[in-house]
């Protein structure tokens, strides 16, 4: 179904009754005015008839019509119309004038007919002829009558047309104006981020839109409940995985601590590595569930420097195990953030830096403020990420083709989601040594 415009619909509904009212109004105001005008014109013809009648002379043998040419010219003169006349004896015989001018039906005084190819108005006047009466027919073409009728019609219809136009304009703009609260509502909804599932404030909405706002809020409520439920499920699932994974890892490490013949050692080693990866994946799923759009995160004031210091010990030990020079450049940087999520984002950045660095490489974690904006960044001197790949590595499960290592492709996607849930931006650039630098920059304030 095509989108229906409320305005067009309203106009479609209004047009026929307006047109009908217009026609009716025209009829109602036209006839009362045309009638007296027609009568006045008829009367003028009657007057001519009477004047003509006075020129009929009755003799013993005949009726004579004597009209000086000058008088006839005066009588026949009209600005708009041609005037015809016909004088007939009481017996109906032709006396003078334009022969064949049709007489009106017996009882009518005036009527319309056609003469000489023109529409004409004919009046019939009785003139005294001795003891009897002659008939004088006077006719004129309809030019001024039609012009009068047209003028009258226009005069009566023009104001009505204006009123109708005004009505349509009022509908057109009135609907727009009347719908402005709806437009505001849609602006408010459009301006929201995808994750903002707070109910819409119904207090400012006009009475008529309350049901709509109510229905929208109901929907938002359901979506946000479903999102919470999904988040809880994902979190529970990830948590449930952790204990058996810890057991698996314990036994794999126990086995590796004993003398094992090849290829058993290599196999147990693979089990061990897979276990560690699965543990990381569980953490990443947890972080994704938490940072999922639609889930409101709990922001609290925290210092990025303290956050890094709290995690530094574990990172340094991981780096030592890989013979990587892991260092810090930390300045205080207060932000509003979710400590768990930011720790996970950092864990992913540091994991990547360690994963893609060679022995003897340098990895540096920095915090501080640049142009008043708090930032945290991790820099390595590994192979870096080609500019063309920088957008794509932020997508879930994307891995740069030909990459070694055992990543899930989730790490940077998680970092991006955590950053965006904080209103922070993420930027991948080259480090001074040609490696990769990933910075999260937080909004001011």
């Amino acid at each position: 179904m095509a989108a229906r415009s409320l305005r067009a619909h309203l106009l479609r509904m209004l047009l026929p009754p307006i047109a009908a009212a217009l026609a009716l109004g025209a009829v109602i105001s036209y006839f009362p005015t045309i009638e007296p005008a027609t009568q006045a014109y008829d009367q003028a013809l009657v007057d001519i008839g009477l004047a003509l009648g006075s020129h009929v002379r009755v003799t013993q043998t005949e009726y004579r019509f004597e009209l000086p040419p000058a008088v006839e010219q005066v009588l026949r003169t009209d600005r708009f119309d041609r005037i015809y006349y016909r004088v007939m004896s009481p017996a109906g015989l032709e006396i003078a004038g334009d022969p064949g001018l049709p007489s009106p039906p017996s009882e009518a005084v005036a009527h319309n007919t056609v003469y000489d190819g023109n529409k004409v108005r004919v009046v019939s006047v009785l003139a005294p002829c001795g003891r009897s009466t002659c008939t004088v027919l006077v006719a004129e073409t309809m030019v001024k009558r039609e012009r009068l009728a047209r003028d009258l019609l226009l005069q009566s219809i023009l104001p009505e047309l204006l009123i109708a136009a005004a009505t349509l304009l009022i509908v057109w703009f009135g609907v727009k104006r009347g719908l402005r609260p709806l437009a505001r509502l849609s602006e408010e909804i459009k301006a929201r981020s995808a994750g903002d599932l707070r109910p819409i404030d119904a207090a400012g909405a006009p009475e008529e839109t309350r049901p709509l706002v109510g229905a929208l809020n109901g929907l938002l409520d359901e979506v946000s409940a479903a999102s919470r439920k999904q988040q809880r499920f994902l979190a529970d699932a990830a948590h449930q995985l952790r204990t058996p994974l810890a057991g698996l890892q314990a036994h794999a490490e126990l086995a590796l601590a004993q003398p094992l013949p090849e290829p058993s050692r290599a196999q147990v080693e693979r089990v061990h590595q897979a276990t560690i990866r699965t543990g990381r994946l569980a953490n990443q799923l947890l972080a994704l569930a938490r940072a999922e759009p639609g889930v409101r995160i709990s922001l609290a004031p925290l210092d990025l420097k303290s956050l890094v210091e709290g995690e530094a010990d574990a990172w340094v030990h991981q780096a030592l195990a890989r013979d990587i020079d892991f260092g810090f450049e930390l300045e205080a940087a207060q932000i509003q953030g979710d400590a768990f999520l930011l720790r996970e984002a950092l864990a992913n950045l540091v994991h990547n830096a360690l994963e893609y660095s060679q022995r003897g490489a340098r990895v540096t974690v920095r915090t501080g403020r640049r142009e008043r904006a708090a930032f945290i960044e991790v820099e390595d001197d590994g192979p870096g990420i080609a500019p063309a790949e920088r957008g794509r590595v932020l997508e879930r499960f994307y891995r740069v083709p030909g990459t070694s290592g055992t990543g899930s492709g989730l790490g940077l996607a998680i970092v991006r989601e955590i950053a965006s849930s904080h209103g922070a931006s993420i930027a991948i650039t080259d480090s001074a040594s040609g490696g990769c630098r990933v910075a999260i920059t937080f909004p001011h304030g």
Binding site: R242, A246, Q249, A250, E253, L254, A257, V316, F326, G327
Partner: protein, 225 residues
């Protein structure tokens, strides 16, 4: 050392038990919080490894009872294990009274390192002697010995070494060292700390005791191997 593991996941509990037994400890295991509280009230353990997600009486409650009851038994360090990061911050806040915590899953070397650190801390707690490989400190007499030979340490070198010895295998920030040493007099600059550490290195490294620099952060006294 006598250790108690409270963990209801049997494979994990048995894995932990075998690893810690291999480290030379006597290890008891129970899957139930109630039994742990009972056992701890009757016997002295040097360390309790406590899972938070136990059936019925959970780890928080066990910890509360361990901390509330049994006066006169001395400190009993508790290492908390958790699968839920939601409790992570509560544990971090230490309002629980746990001495350390680990989020599952974890690497066994990390667990054994933490266990050693906790045991070392509780053993040396208030004790007059600190040992680290061939190094021995008599904190009462303020005398140090390396391989049995007396070792000359300036007052501030001693103070820095004490801070590092309290946190073996943990990175310690320069600020933390300055704070600990500040009681010894005037203001100290980070550069001054570098000088003391460098002097300590020249005295201790020949004996195989290594102080590692953590760039932009501070130092770490490595475990003696």
């Amino acid at each position: 050392m006598r250790l108690l593991i409270v963990e209801d996941d049997a494979p994990l509990a048995s894995g932990l038990q075998r690893i810690l037994e291999a480290e030379g400890h006597a290890v008891d295991v129970t899957p139930r919080g109630e039994e742990a509280v009972l056992a701890a009230s009757q016997e002295k353990f040097d360390l309790v490894i406590l899972d938070i997600g136990l059936p019925q009486m959970d780890g928080f409650e066990v910890l509360r009872r361990l901390r509330a009851g049994g006066p006169g038994r001395g400190p009993m360090p508790v290492l908390v294990l958790t699968a839920r990061d939601a409790v992570d911050d509560r544990v971090r806040g230490l309002d629980l009274g746990a001495d350390d915590y680990m989020v599952k899953p974890f690497a066994m070397p990390e667990l054994t390192a933490r266990v050693r650190a906790l045991l070392r801390r509780s053993q040396s707690h208030g004790g007059p002697r600190i040992a680290h490989g061939p190094l021995q400190l008599d904190t009462v007499a303020r005398r140090a010995f390396l391989k049995g030979e007396p070792l000359e340490l300036a007052a501030r070198e001693w103070a820095v070494l004490e801070v590092l010895l309290a946190r073996v295998e943990k990175i310690v920030s320069k600020e933390a060292i300055i704070q600990a040493v500040a009681g010894w007099g005037d203001d100290l600059s980070p550069n001054a700390i570098e000088v003391y550490v460098s002097r300590l290195r020249s005295k201790l490294e020949p004996a195989g005791i290594r102080i590692r620099t953590v760039r932009g952060f501070g130092y770490m006294l490595e475990e003696y191997k």
